[in-house]
Amino acid sequence: MHVTVRLFARLKDIAGAPELERDVPADATLADVWALLAHDFPAMAPYRGSVSGARNAEYSRMDAVIADGDEIAFLPPVSGG
């Protein structure tokens, strides 16, 4: 399966890009995608406890299973307002 991963703020800076493409196995969860990223970009690892996930522009639990073509997003702690 193929997913688009959107990254914001510090996570975007760490990855050096606002958007990545990743191939993931069937039945992969958001947590699996996160693990891939943390492997590729070790500086992301500390965000494990504070990152929120989204799937197709809806908040999603990290254990949600993703589908081919999904847009996955990882959101560091927010600071709007």
């Binding site: 914001f8 990152v51 522009a57 959101l75 560091p76 702690p77 927010v78 600071s79 709007g80 307002g81």
Partner: protein
């Protein structure tokens, strides 16, 4: 400026435009209109701020504003809100966020407005990149957990209800 009640925009915010869109949407009688503007301050934690640069996950931010409006309708039936948030560079003294709340009576309009800004800070996927004298830093606040009941209660407490 869009006439939408919920928007993320790089345009200068207009309280007037936002108020009009909330009033247009509001179905019941309106006796009270409250508003909140968050302005960029020249100083933060001892740093001399040059400007802020806001980033948003726009579709989810707009849905988040709408979700907050739904929460408010449940808590204070008859209260309506609108939220406009800037993205991109926002200079000192400019508004980064505008919120307008309407209701038949003032207690609910105040509560709804305050609750809205607390919830925006808790769950809206928006990030503040602070450019200050000597560097820049991404500000990280709350882990966004829209379903966290504790956060909702905290927002209600601050809204004084």
């Amino acid at each position: 400026m869009s006439a939408a009640r919920f928007a993320v925009t790089s345009d200068v915010l207009s309280l007037d435009a936002l108020t009009k869109s909330v009033m247009t949407h509001h179905a019941g009688p309106v006796g009270a209109v409250t508003s909140f503007l968050g302005l960029v301050r020249a100083e933060n934690l001892g740093r001399v701020v040059s400007y802020l640069d806001y980033e948003a996950y726009e579709p989810l931010a707009v849905k988040g504003f709408s979700r907050i409006a739904d929460e408010i309708s449940e808590l204070w039936p008859g209260a309506s809100i609108g939220v406009h948030h800037r993205v991109g560079r926002v200079d000192i003294g400019q508004a980064s966020i505008a919120i307008v709340a309407t209701s038949a009576h003032r207690a609910d309009a105040f509560a709804a407005c305050r609750y809205a800004i607390e919830r925006v800070k808790q769950i809206a996927p928006i990030w503040k990149h602070e450019h200050f004298d000597g560097g820049d830093v991404w500000i990280e606040g709350a882990t966004a957990e829209p379903d966290d009941e504790g956060a909702r209660l905290e927002a209600r407490k601050r809204a004084c209800t």
